[in-house]
């Protein structure tokens, strides 16, 4: 049986994943994942490599659509609407649910143009308004003071940590509801990592954030909720299979201090993964 977390049917969640399955061609990568993502809080996805946590994350803003042969079934409930309904435009989904990637990937443009890219896509072209958006977004990503004097400099000229904060600024410039972060600090040094975590706690505290991380301490420090994914290798009939499943979900303190399953406890203690 697949683990089912407890949730309140009457609560208005930011995103409600309900029995989500992801397939790549014939291969099932993730099975029956159910996660309630609470508004304005930080939810961390943890688990060993290959457990499907990034796949689930990318299912939330339909980035999987870009992968040939990828297919998602189940219900990704967002404002009372399943994101995989036929009348939902993935372009709109991605504007509401922004994403920050593992490797900092600023566009080869100036800092200003990086941040203004999203608003311009939406047709905001007036210079004073763009100026305001750029400043607000860069402040929101705690980057303004470092770059305010050379906004014309290429985004690629910044350090790795600054680049990642630029990517966060770029994401919040289109004012999304939810920010998905796919291991945003894994390519950064400890100090830059700390800046990102601080940013999530302080400047981005209004946003609903879902973060995938390999770093247990990071999950423990930065998140309010933790979803632990694991790889299932045999089904109930002892047939060989291989897919990712949700193994445990709960408040961070509870999952780390009092895990309900033995495998969660082992993973958190560093005995595998």
């Amino acid at each position: 049986m697949v683990y089912q977390p407890e949730y309140d049917d009457n609560q208005d969640y930011a995103v409600m994943l309900d029995d989500v399955n992801v397939f790549y061609g014939d291969y099932q990568a993730v099975k029956d994942v159910t996660i309630p993502v609470e508004k304005g809080r930080i939810t961390a996805f943890i688990g060993p490599s290959g457990c499907g946590k990034s796949t689930v994350l990318r299912a939330i803003n339909r980035m999987n659509d870009l992968v040939e042969g990828a297919r998602v079934t189940g219900n990704v409930q967002y404002h009372g609407k399943n994101l995989y309904d036929a009348d939902v435009d993935p372009v709109e989904v991605r504007r509401r649910i922004g994403m920050v990637f593992q490797k900092p990937n600023p566009f080869p443009k100036s800092i200003y143009d990086n941040v203004a890219y999203g608003p311009r896509l939406l047709g905001v072209n007036k210079k004073p308004i763009l100026d305001e958006i750029v400043e607000k977004s860069l402040r929101g990503a705690a980057l303004w003071d470092e770059v305010k004097n050379d906004l014309r400099k290429s985004g690629l000229a910044l350090s790795g940590g600054q680049q990642q904060r630029l990517c966060i600024a770029r994401t919040i410039a289109v004012e999304p509801d939810i920010i998905l972060m796919d291991e945003p600090a894994s390519a950064l040094d400890p100090i830059a990592t700390q800046r990102i975590e601080q940013l999530m706690r302080e400047e981005l505290s209004e946003y609903t954030i879902i973060i995938v991380t390999h770093n247990m301490q990071q999950a423990q420090r930065a998140s309010d909720y933790v979803a632990f994914f694991n790889i299932r290798k045999r089904d109930q009939n002892n047939q060989e299979i291989r897919w990712g499943e949700l193994a445990e979900f709960g408040e961070t303190d509870q999952v780390f201090n009092n895990p309900s399953s033995a495998e969660t406890a082992e993973y958190i203690a560093g005995r595998f993964g």
Binding site: R96, F101, P108, L121
Partner: protein
Amino acid sequence: MTMESHTPTSSYMPDEATFKKRLAGRHRRAGAWLGFYYFAIGISLVALIALFGNVINEAFGSIAVQFEVDPDTLTEDGADLNSLDETQLAQILVDQLGGRIVVLIRDELSAVASEDFTSATLAQLVPNGTLPDGYEDATVEEVRALDSEEAMPVWRDLIALNVPKDGLLNLINDQIVSLEVVGSWPLLEALFAYDAPSETVDRIATIPTEIAALASELEDLRSETGGIAQAETALADARRDQADDATITSLREAVREQQARATDIETQIDQLDEELETLEDSSIVTEVAANYPDARIIRFQSWLDTQFLTTQMSSTPYEAGIRGAILGSLWLMAVVIVFALPVGVATAIYLNEYATDNFLNRLIETNVRNLAGVPSIIYGMLGLAVFVRVLEPFTSGSIFGVADAANGRTVLSAALTLGLLILPIIIINAQEALRAVPNALREASYGMGATKWQTIWKIVLPSALPGILTGLILSVSRAIGETAPLIVVGASTLLFTDPNGPFSKFTALPIQIYNWTARPQDQFRDIAAAAIIVLLVIVIALNSVAIVLRNRYAR
């Protein structure tokens, strides 16, 4: 040198002695390969130097020219024509041509039709020009009727006031000097075999007298009273007198001796002739002195000069230029880019960004790659069949009312053919450039809520642009050097008007070079070499732009 191993050696590893031996062998093999690399680069360098050396050797060098009138005799003190003013130059024309000056004015200067020429006034001849005082309303007939003391200054002033200095110099060169190039020599000969040493010159001078002496000796020997005749008469006399055998034998011997002497002299003359020829050919100066005693040598003549670049085709090499060919090549280049760049880039975008991985798309892509290897002449056949023949109304411009007669052999036909030729290369290069754009950038853009088109237009294309342009420039520089398809499509070989648009007849640099190298006269090969330099400069300039672009945008 020995290095003791500090770690225990496993049994799989060679022992110390074997290791040393093999190490030496490994170094030897590395050295041998390095030697091969040096050899290879040496060959490339030699080939390059030979290529440029050959072209430069042909394009510069000495020429021998002959004039009908020596330009130095035109002025009293032999002053340079360039230093004279318009009136003096016009005076030279009038002095030299006499009455023919009127014909010159009719053909070169007059604005009225030739049948109205004699009855026209001078003011009508040059409607906006300046006129000699007092003769504005005189007709050509009236001025001609004046006596020459009075008429010549009028003609002189008319020409001097209305023809620019360059034009006057050209008229003098054309009408009076009539320069003719009688011989040309490549640069190496101009540098190293220009003049012969004095002993050679002396020898050349003495050989004819030696030959003359030998010739007169031979003539004497063979004359009716000469040595051969005498000996023959003596022999005949002896036979008639029935002299004894010994006498006859000795007389017969004497005849043979005399004949042998004559043959010997002939051989000597032949040898001297040969020596003379070799000596004369040994330097430019002696060769010209022997063959063109009236010619003047210009030791360093560059076939490549501004006049060569700016004048039209001509059937005389000295006057021929490549203006039409350069303009034709530039027009071709422009139309090729306008046609091939958008089509090629659009195809690459479709194949790379939109096409799913199915059989049809794989087939298209494989074929594009194969087309890049199809010989260019086959594209020429295609261009002839499709653009020149089938689409003639379109490629000749007659459909748009631009051309009077339908003739599909236009810039447009050739450019479309060359465009097809380089299209696969542009597509392949553009695909490489698009593929090199990191997927992370595409994902970032999609993640911001960009549509596919916005992502391609705002992120992917700008990032791929340097690569696309590099590919474009390299393929255009290939197209500009193509000859075969243009010949098939039908470039003009002799064109006296500038190509001035996509619908005009045209020639191009490689066509011009090809035609000139096929001519028998040496001088055509010299101007072909000069045109090759121009073509090489254009191609190298294009490739440099490509390199600069690549370096500027290299990450």
